[in-house]
Symmetry: C2
Subunit: 400 residues, 2 copies
């Protein structure tokens, strides 16, 4: 039985980023990771640009207060100046328009009064560069504006558009096949008969996969039959970078998954981790390097197993530098009174207090209790043994 | 010019949740908010269920050590017991299988040795209820398992499946129309000619919309022409719950948006907010209650304006109770030396330090600098005036 840290290290040892591909820059690419540096193909802005509506001037002409300048033309955004600004001259200019040659500053229109072809500048001390966004100030041709390894966030969409990109080379979202096992399972649209329960792990793991940056593919329920389970897991291995299989990974007579995986050429690296909920937790690698996670059948255990082991793997396959999860130390919002035989991840909620966030343990009855897990936006990390602690004690928290 | 808090209050005063609709429980519904309580249609588990592979027994039979019991049948998960367990009897049972009548506990197979139709229990002190998940322990028929107002997270998918739901009544994701204005703009696939720049706000605002829980619809670039702008904004109002229009909202001669909005029947509630970046920031409501946000043309200003004003509105329309954004107080990872004439939201990054998170201000040259804003996963909130502060000073942070 491995410790959590050792199990994570073993998983990560087998993770490497997927082969890159071209991704069109629709919002579907949000969260993909760039696989190549993005270079600016032009200066941005491509010209010295006015940051205000007003007048383009030579700063030296406006050293004193109340300079009066001759207005020689008007340039709106999108237009091009045709006349250089000479001594004693100004060009009426609008936000986003190119600065005319000769001008080196912009006076806001609020600081100027126009009158019959002339303008009186009432801005005292106009400085060169004032309200001008210099050519190439944000990026110069050839600059690396986004590095390989950058996740494409919303602001990156803007930067990529500025750099002229409509597609990029990126790591794909890993394809994640989801299989659940058990003769007792029926799907949500079915009323369970005697001895049956509804399959909650399938929908939950697909949703966790989306949140974790993977593309889920649900393959259905494998009955506790070697041939059926082999067929379904074989199909999952064919179409996936990562296979999640919930249930059937323990050591019982009906826990077929380890034998089936062996028959499919999967090398099993470990089968149990000292973690609660979720001790039976299998990790293997397939013939094409696919990662296989055998998660416990209890839904809260499957949930935690995914977050601690599968999600970090999906992140690395998807090109992220950090596997996560991110943890933070927060004071307890309520006392804790429990003891666990294993390191435990239990559901909790962040609470905005007067002096910052605190963490509130949620009522929860253990591994089969998904209703108690559902409101969690955090997992409280408790060491094995006596985990009693008073309100205010700092506790380690995984953000979901 | 409104203060930020007053502007937010004015926006929120006009926000109410959208009309609810049925949503199929595919992963596309992740993040939608339930509009009605979800009741359990059956007990869960629907029967007392074994939590281990082992033997179903009467605890009273195993009060001492080394009880020997007659094994009367075997029940796998998905099967149904046919014989009650009497005194001195046991049923071979597997995880997930129903507990037979008469039995009140399960002995793990690791604590039992089987031999020719009998089993010797070597578990000392078997307690009633041991390794049994009682019928209805997680949910009872008629229980509210998820309340109206709950965002559908990954664990909720599991709970909904347990409750037999394949569709729910939920608030739809708000439809967000995105228009950008300016004669100087060309799309990313075009090389700017003299006086032109590429449109970065369109792709960025669409991506922010997705992250904020809205469905973006990009309508294109409106040239600085009354009829064209009116046509495009009219179309946006027709198909949207929220309209974002970037640029053209200042007071310049070419800033047509306020006039066009008036002609389209939009009531403008405010036009400027004392915030940096992003002072020109318009908010209005259309004839059908559509919300209209006129954002500055500078991309970092548009970014911040969206996060502070449009995103909270999208959340409320989508049925969330809290508009956000969530803030947290964190120590500065580096000294700050700046002064601002307005309350300022500047890009920053969370840094995992030895004793918890700190916040690192990023290099940033101001409103037009989206490259400097891009790596931010947080905005540092600075008051107007002198914002000098030493490393370690607590600062207010908006998480992106």
């Amino acid at each position: 039985m491995l410790e959590i840290a050792d199990a994570r290290a073993e998983v990560l040892r087998h993770c490497k980023p997927l082969r890159t591909e071209h991704a069109a820059l629709t919002t579907a690419a949000l969260g993909q990771v760039l696989a190549a540096d993005i270079l600016a193909d032009i200066d941005s802005p491509p010209f010295a640009k006015s940051l205000r509506d007003g007048y383009a001037v030579r700063a030296a002409d406006c050293a004193g207060n109340c300079a009066v300048l001759q207005v020689i033309e008007e340039v709106a955004a999108g237009a091009v100046p045709t006349k250089p600004v000479g001594a004693g001259q100004a060009t009426r200019i609008f936000t986003g328009a190119p600065l005319p040659d000769g001008a080196d500053a912009v006076v806001m229109q609020e600081h100027a009064t126009a009158d019959a072809g002339a303008v009186r500048v009432i801005d005292s001390g106009v400085k060169p560069g004032q309200w001008v966004y210099a050519r190439g100030h944000e990026m110069r041709t050839g600059d690396v504006v986004l590095s390989a390894g950058t996740p494409i966030n919303a602001a990156a969409f803007g930067v990529l558009a500025s750099a002229g990109k409509t597609a990029v080379v990126a790591y794909p979202f890993p394809r994640v096949g989801v299989v659940v096992t058990g003769n007792e399972l029926v799907e949500a649209n079915t009323r369970p008969k005697a001895g049956q329960i509804r399959n909650s792990n399938g929908p939950m793991l697909c949703a966790q996969t989306v949140r974790g940056g993977g593309l889920p593919r649900y393959l259905g329920i494998a009955r506790d039959d070697f041939a059926i389970t082999k067929s379904l897991l074989g199909e999952a291995l064919d179409v996936s970078d990562v296979v999640l299989v919930a249930g059937g990974v323990s050591v019982g007579d009906h826990d077929l998954v380890p034998e089936v995986l062996k028959a499919l050429g999967v090398t099993v690296h470990f089968r149990t981790v000292r973690v609660k909920p979720g001790k039976p937790l299998l990790f293997g690698t397939g013939p094409k390097g696919q990662l296989v996670f055998g998660l416990p059948g209890n839904p809260a255990s499957a949930f935690v197993g995914f977050e601690l082991f599968a999600r970090p793997a999906i992140r690395i396959l998807g090109g992220h530098a950090e596997p996560g999860p991110r943890t933070i130390s927060l004071p307890l919002a309520a006392p804790l009174a429990e003891a666990n035989d294993r390191p435990t991840y239990r559901p909790a909620q962040l609470v905005q207090g007067a002096t910052g966030w605190t963490v509130q343990p949620l009522d929860w009855t253990g591994a089969p209790d998904l209703v108690g897990m559902q409101p969690a936006d955090a997992l409280l990390v408790l060491p094995a043994g006596d985990a009693r602690a008073d309100t205010g004690t700092l506790a380690e928290v995984v953000l979901l």
